[in-house]
Amino acid sequence: MLQAPIFDPLKTYYENWEEGPFAGFADGELLPEKEPRFEFLNQKISYPIGIPAGPLLNGKFVKAALDKGWTVPVHKTVRTRVRESNEWPNVLGIVGIEGDLTLARAQEPIVVAQEYKEPLSITNSFGNPSYEPSVWQKDLKECVAYAKKGQLVMCSLEGTKWEAEWGTEEYVNDWVSGMKMLKDAGVKVVEANFSCPNEGVASLLCFDTPKVKIITTAIKEKIGDTPLVIKLAYFKEDALRELVKEVGNIVDGFSAINTIAAPVVNPDGTQALPGGEKRIKSGICGHAIKWAGLDMTRRLAELRKELGMKYGIIGVGGVTIPSDYKEYRDAGADLVMSATGAMWNPYLARDIKTAYPDG
């Protein structure tokens, strides 16, 4: 059953950042974490469950997630300079589709509203805002220190072409310097967000295999043994094979999927999100995209076996009830993460651990 959300969709990003988290993440109840029994990218963890980059805006949210037994929380994607948030609203419930958001359905407008119901799917559009590195580095250091034995704090980063005249070298350098900042903050597993839709949904970075190879190679040269996970969108079959062949031995893990972008409209058919053309489409997440996350997880697992590679797999997308977690584990995920599900049920990690004590 849906509970009050930890992030208040009626408030702005900045209000949530200052005042949040809310509801179950602010009730003070501390859930225990068991002895580490699992391993993810050479890190010993208590249970393969986490929250992906997105809902955990800052250190307060990450600490609350740790308190509620989300063993591997990922701090939201950060950048190397300040980036403002998109205008409110940023989160809306999906009311206009039944069943799955297929790729064909995602071409048509989807009705959204401040209404949240099960099975839960939402759209979110923040534009990957970021505070100064000094702010999030301080937060990350505190969170890493706060984590109990068996817990692992991760953080996601997106490189940015800050200046119009920048070429590939400067852009790659931004990725590399950002990753170094994460490592310096004590983050033991870092994530490169190659699938953020606000950089242009038509040409996500993850679909540009040569560029992904250049960036990941440069990052790994800089951060050495610190495991690097890259965040992917939903890929068609041949494209995924090509990417994995090229970078599967460079990166340490893949996280899939991010959201699926679709045009979102109000019930009267008008554009739902203010901000002109760049916000006609918005990322859809939750139950409606579970099929895509599962499909990617299965294919990544098959490719790993076929190509004899060793990368880790984080399965993300539509995990809102415990059996969703099991489906991802059965599909081959080493670690499962829930964003939308965790936002409306902060106790979902506990429910999953109870339902599947052996992971």
Binding site: E237, W291, L294
Partner: protein, 344 residues
């Protein structure tokens, strides 16, 4: 234990719900239900949320189905406006026929316009059959058009006495026509709706006692060629709702139900194998699955449970029925996928 070996059974009519409604079923869970029920090959219908009426949608389905435990083929679909894709779709080895909806059912693929229907029969390459959902006297029109254009016609889920008679007459006149029947139409009548409510709703609906007898007679005398499950899973919650969707799951019970028919001497075991293997293989030109078989304890009885299904729907219209025929082993191309009744 009376273990007998059979070929891997073929179900030419399933709705595996992916893409579009994976909360009801997906290719993995549907295929798990299939092998648990003794099927090693099945053909998926095109009436998904985004119907399989373009080559892009077909490619997407073929890709998504790769996770299945058994082999899966596809029937292409038509809304009457996609005839220009027929030749390329029919040429695909994964496609086994064209499904044409002449009556309302799940999905938005009804073709009622006569000119469009004529176009479909005229354009579909005739080496693969046209499968029709045509109830009652709608079937007469379908038979006429198929005869006019020299098409092989497969009548899906035949359910009424008049349909059996039409198929019998067409066969007498040497029209290339075949028909399939679903276990739920063979074993249940419309009276079930009084007690089972939404759980007994499907398209075509359950018939009368007279319809049921005609179906059994048609199956026994060869008028009806195959048994097809029309596996159409929906969740319990959906079936309990004010507007229950049409369809029932069937993959996990069909083979045992047909062994019950053998035990009750309604059909012979030879007829069972023809209806679940030889005839669908011939009608849809299904390639040999080498080193593939199922082993069934034909004497052992089991009770259809209230849960524990492989299908995501997790229910059956036959809950509580005691059936003979336990699927013990399923081997697909040399790989054992079911052993001692459990999926490996």
């Amino acid at each position: 234990m009376a273990l007998k070996r059979f070929p891997g059974f073929i179900d030419a009519h399933v709705h595996l719900r992916e893409p579009g409604a994976t909360h009801k079923e997906d290719f993995l869970t549907g295929s798990r239900a299939a092998v648990k029920g003794g099927f090693t090959f099945m053909i998926d219908m095109p009436n998904n949320a985004e119907p399989t009426i373009s080559l892009d949608r077909l490619d997407e389905k073929i890709s998504l189905a790769k996770k299945a435990l058994c082999d899966i083929g596809f029937h292409y679909g038509t809304n009457g406006k996609n005839a220009e894709t027929f030749a390329r779709a029919a040429a695909r080895s994964e496609v086994y026929g064209l499904k044409l909806y002449c009556n309302h059912t799940t999905g938005e693929m009804l073709v009622e316009d006569l000119a469009m229907l004529e176009g479909v029969y005229h354009t579909w390459p005739s080496e693969k059959p046209i499968l029709v959902h045509a109830e009652g006297m709608q079937l007469a029109g379908a038979i006429g058009l198929a005869a006019l254009y020299g098409q092989r016609l497969h009548v899906c889920h035949i359910s009424q006495k008049v349909e059996v008679e039409l198929v019998r007459e067409a066969k007498k006149r040497k029209h290339p026509i075949t028909a399939g029947v679903c276990p739920h139409h063979l074993f249940m009548t419309g009276e079930a709706r009084d007690t089972m409510k939404g759980f007994a709703l499907m398209k075509p609906p359950l018939g009368t006692k007279a319809d049921q007898e005609a179906l059994w007679k048609g199956l026994a005398d060869g008028t009806i060629d195959i048994v097809e499950t029309d596996h159409a899973p929906h969740t319990r919650e959906e079936k309990k709702s004010d507007k229950p969707p049409f369809g029932v799951p069937g993959l996990e019970t069909a083979v045992s139900l047909m062994f019950r028919a053998v035990k009750e001497k309604r059909i012979t075991e030879k007829c069972l194998v023809e209806a679940l293997y030889d005839n669908p293989k011939k009608i849809f030109n299904v390639r040999d699955q080498t080193d593939t078989h199922v082993e069934i304890d034909t004497e052992a009885m089991w009770v259809v449970g209230k849960d524990g299904y492989e299908s995501k729907s997790n229910w059956s219209p036959f809950e509580g029925w005691e059936l003979p025929g336990k699927i013990e082993t399923v081997v697909i191309r040399g790989k054992t996928v079911v052993e001692a009744g459990r999926i490996l």
